[in-house]
């Protein structure tokens, strides 16, 4: 069961880049190292938001969760945000069992994430 990885980089401003990582297939003991290898060089100082889009991910094990946890730990040191969107029911269930790695925000869909972004931008405008 292969893992498909697509990394999209969106430059919002010179100091703010959003990385969207689309995963498809199986994130497991055999494929987790591939994700780690592609993710590490993509995470530079400009990356402020990282979105994992799991719409096409059908299987995940603790090997995959370990990559998510390591990524989150790395980005958190710089006050950055990691989100997960479009989880299939069986993936959502695994996230819930491990209490979704507490502190990681889990969103049900891109639409929910968009409304979250809009709310955050409003806060910036209001000077909070």
């Amino acid at each position: 069961m292969p893992l498909d990885i697509k990394i999209k980089r969106q430059v919002d401003s010179p100091r703010h880049t959003t990385l969207t990582v689309e995963l498809g297939g199986s994130l497991d003991t055999a494929t987790a190292p591939q994700l780690e290898a592609q993710l590490t060089p993509a995470l530079d100082a400009q990356v402020k938001d990282l979105i994992f889009d799991l719409a096409k991910l059908t299987f995940i094990s603790s090997a995959g969760l370990r990559v998510f946890a390591a990524t989150r730990k790395f980005l958190k040191q710089q006050g950055e945000q990691v989100s997960f969107v479009n989880l299939q029911p069986q993936i959502q269930e695994v996230f819930e069992i491990v209490k979704a790695l507490p502190g990681v925000s889990v969103f049900g869909s891109i639409a929910e994430f968009d409304s979250y972004l809009a709310a955050r931008q409003r806060k910036v405008v209001e000077g909070e």
């Binding site: 069961m1 497991d28 003991t29 094990s61 946890a69 502190g103």
Partner: protein, 139 residues
Amino acid sequence: MKESVLELPATPEDVMRGVEHLEQFCTEQQVPRKAIQGLMLAVEEMASNVVNHAYQRDAQQTFRLTLQHHGDRFVVELRDHGPAFDPLHAAAPDLESDPDERDIGGLGIHLVRHYIEDLRYAREGNENVLLMTKLLPPA
């Protein structure tokens, strides 16, 4: 009772071959999809545990998967000849601690316990034998 036995080299890729074989066998046996997903996760976690820890990725070693469909339950036996190791009595993960400080290594067995109703470990001769039984809903 339908049975399938598979002997595989101790590599992560072969763990996933075993998981795919399980998926195919269960699908043929018309095991419900939700139960198949739980079994696949359990086999992935426990077999990769054997490959990465008991054998330390020595691909010369092998492990054996025996799959049994009994109608009302599905039994997976995982057999290896690594050093004696009881995965059921390894330390449970502390899910209340700071996730950044926590050892995430224990999450695998935590997931397995969620999906598998009965887990038994035995040391037989020079082999570790793990029996995983999942109850199936009435057809």
